[in-house]
Amino acid sequence: MSKFEYRDIKQPHYRHIGNYTPRKDAKDIVTGKAIFLDDFSVPHMLYGKTKRSPYPHAKILSIDTSKAEAYPGVRAVITHKNMPEPWGLGLPVHRLLMEDKVYYVGDVVALIAADTEEIATEAIDLIDVEYEQLEAVYSAEEALKEGAVELYPRFKGNHVDNGIKYFQPDGPWWQIIRGDVKKGFEESKYVAEDKVAFDKMPAPLAPETPCCIAKYEGGNDYTIWASSQSAHILKLMGEGRIPNSNLSVKTFNVGGSYGNKQSLMTTVLSAAMLSKVTKRPVKIVLTKEEQLMSYEVRLGSTITAKIGMDEEGYVRAIEGDWLVDTGAIADSVQGQVGVGLGEAQLVCAKCPNWFMDSHIAVTNKQAAGIVRGYGGQELNSCLERLMCTVMKEGNFNPLDVFKKNYIAPGDRFIWRDGRWWQSRSSLFFPEAMQNAADRFGWGEKWKGWNVPTSVNGTKARGIGMGVIGNADINEDNTEAIVRIVPDLVGSHRASTAIIECDITESGMGTRSNACKVVAEVLNVPVEKVSITEPGTKYNPSNYGLCGSRGTITTGKAVSLAALDCKRQALELGARHFKRSVDQMETKDFMVYVRDTPELSIPMFKLAPKELSIVGYGKHMEMFNIPSCMAIFVEVEVDTETGHTSIVKVAGGTDIGQIIDSKAVEMQLHGGFGSACIDTAIFEECILDPATGRLLTSSLIDYKWRPFNEFPPYDAYIMESQIDSFMFKALGIGEISGAAGASAVLMAISNAIGVDIKDYPATPAVILKALGKA
């Protein structure tokens, strides 16, 4: 193979791509004009509230709603006894929205619609419920044991179906079985076996609580306004739960989601049912306490595995069992398990021998749902700790091991669809890791396993790193229409381009980036391009923002649609000037002959009178371009108090091509949010085993990192022009912090000289490890 170097790559010069362009909604956001769901209301609207279970597992013996119904201003009270239709929850459906049993603290017992929020809240306490408490299970391990109390008849032994058709069209896939594990371990020089749990199910905790307005339109039609980052997913899931329904889903700016506000199923079904009964629009906005105690959190993950590594540091064999705790509702968990298993193969891409099994269990905890990292982070947090054990055996520098084992073009893996894929992504991921490491100072700071970088009195410093990748960045189909709208009265300067694509703005700037991409293709100013309001009904189909897919999938669909427009404009111009299409160029809605620019004509003169030039583009799903993110952390542990602080972070990736320089940087910084890096130090949901209730039910009790505790962050980004779509970019946000937690535990272990495998490594955990508590 001839050597291909980074400097050989021709770096393109673009008019817009790669620079910072202020977002279309920037001014609205800084002036408070941007509309979020709770800022919006529909005429004649009622307010919905939920009476929730105080017990983790109980049978409802009796329920008396008479006082609540008689309360002035209350318009409807719905319980399991008077539900108009049996709407289900889960994928596969395994329970109803309300039943005569409750399965977690915060489960839905009754729904109330009232004239005001205050009346609805007061009516909650007027409903009298008599419960018979049942035994509860709080971990996947416990739930899957023989004789454990069973939650649902649908899940025998609490075991959730392995794989479902939606995620695995060829049949369920839940195990990596490749090569010969026995032989692999024989070839390995170093073998280590261990068990690691990432099971505190932390909360991504968007600042805007989940909320929606549902309006029953008669027949089978509903209009749903929701704080969802993907209207399409909400429609897809909702229509599966409300029999024969047709949902028109509209979204606004979303106040943070991190993958966590997609289908909002329980909330949306509750509002839709209240609307169906009252025949009025119903708004439900969860309180922060409801969000923390009953809304979806990260999956619980426990892995027992044996890893073999050869003398060069290549992983040769992995045998393991992954237990996944999905809480009381299993919704999309099989997709997350599939992605987790897929991502494990990206990190250990040279390993030919695998037997990795997985088991998903339901437990009496609030539901785990989709969160940024999507199964991959939960598995990676465990698997990379296990890799550390074997790297330590062989006394390898982890940087060398991660570089060697990471997926290169040509390497093959099974993705969550159960199919084989072969990477055609970047050749330069190892270089991105090395260069980020160099900027971080890895070489000088790495002193060996469980050896601190420096010790100053009681303060010991250590470093750690983690690597993760994701091949979901091309997932799901998307289509878009671009229209060049010539000015009606004939000024080419007043012409505009309109993108028709269903994209919600949930913080990543995807709507503006789509405009930027189209402006680049058409060679027009970005401010001349706008995009339709998000919503499922009047837009071409877009699966939505998940798996970091926004950049490539919407980028590809809108760029191809714009190219289709451009081609038509050039053809019209060529005919007009009697030239070949190849001689034509376009700029700022003018078409001109390339070598005779004075021969130019505005597009409005070319297009048929009153009509626009319309182009169509689409993206089709594939999984063969994995991304990569390496993260490096330096921590300082106070061996006296057990307190850990992060003193420096560096991230490295090859992004292909930067679309927006500031947006990509913040995608990397985002690794500190949404329950990523800090799940290694302080972020956790603390369950009281005596009551089954969370003790972390407010923003005071649930710990988060404030402004004055952010360490320096050094990001290193390569742009190797990966063949993803016209502008060669990859998505990264999904994984920017996903390997951070395991990196922090590695750093803490090195700082204090003792292996730490507990998430989070609170002062209590560290002092115990040091034999001081």
């Binding site: 770096q11 001014k27 979020f36 968007a206 943070g256 989601s257 040509g410 923003l699 320096p712």
Partner: protein, 203 residues
């Protein structure tokens, strides 16, 4: 004597509300956040945690930053309130702080942004040239989960007249292409790549 009215000045306009439980009246239990958001439709400030922990509802009261979810409207009689909607000068345009937030892209989802801007404004009104550490301290009560902290600090430091904030740095490898990054031998090509001897290693 029981008060019958509460008078507030909001963004330069005076409002007089009747206190009571009747329709349209301000009940004694109504928070300032509810009055601003629901009664006056000033929805710029957000209500997120309703217990003063996240700072999303921050507004200026007599020039000081307050969390409006923690104040009862009846307690605010005679006070001068400025919300995010009142920060932009109708003639001069955006406040320098708002412009700096756009220039530095100091937000992502934008939900906590109005609260952060108002908290920063309160700081700058009190101390026009705070140090970088004073800025961080002043914002420590503002929750942001997208992690726009680094760009927010860049924006506020700029308005405060401080040196450019380098807490976070992004380095683009292409900046090195003229003077290339050290070339390494180990690119670890796949043994299974098309055209190499191990191409059929899968079987």
């Amino acid at each position: 004597m029981k008060k019958q009215y509460v008078t507030l000045t909001v963004n330069g306009r005076e409002y007089r509300f009747s206190i009571g439980d009747g329709f349209g009246q301000v009940p004694p239990s109504e928070t300032l956040s509810q009055t601003l958001r629901k009664r006056l439709q000033l929805t710029g400030s957000k209500e997120s945690c309703s217990e003063g922990a996240c700072g999303c509802c921050t507004v200026l009261m007599d020039g000081k930053g307050v969390t409006s979810c923690m104040l009862l409207t009846v307690e605010c009689d005679g006070r001068d309130i400025v919300t995010i909607e009142g920060l932009e000068d109708p003639e001069k345009g955006l406040d320098p702080l708002q412009q700096a937030f756009i220039d530095e892209y100091a937000f992502q989802c934008g939900y906590c942004t109005p609260g952060i801007i108002m908290a920063a404004k309160a700081l700058l009104l009190d101390n026009p040239h705070p140090s970088p550490d004073e800025i961080k301290e002043a914002l420590s009560g503002n929750y942001c989960r997208c992690i726009s902290h680094y760009t927010v600090l860049r924006a506020i430091n700029r308005v405060a007249g401080n040196e450019e904030d380098h807490t976070a740095v992004m380095h683009r490898a292409n900046d090195d292409v003229e003077n290339p990054i050290p070339v390494r031998e180990e690119l670890f090509p796949s043994p299974y790549a098309y055209g190499v001897p191990g191409d059929n290693a899968l079987e």
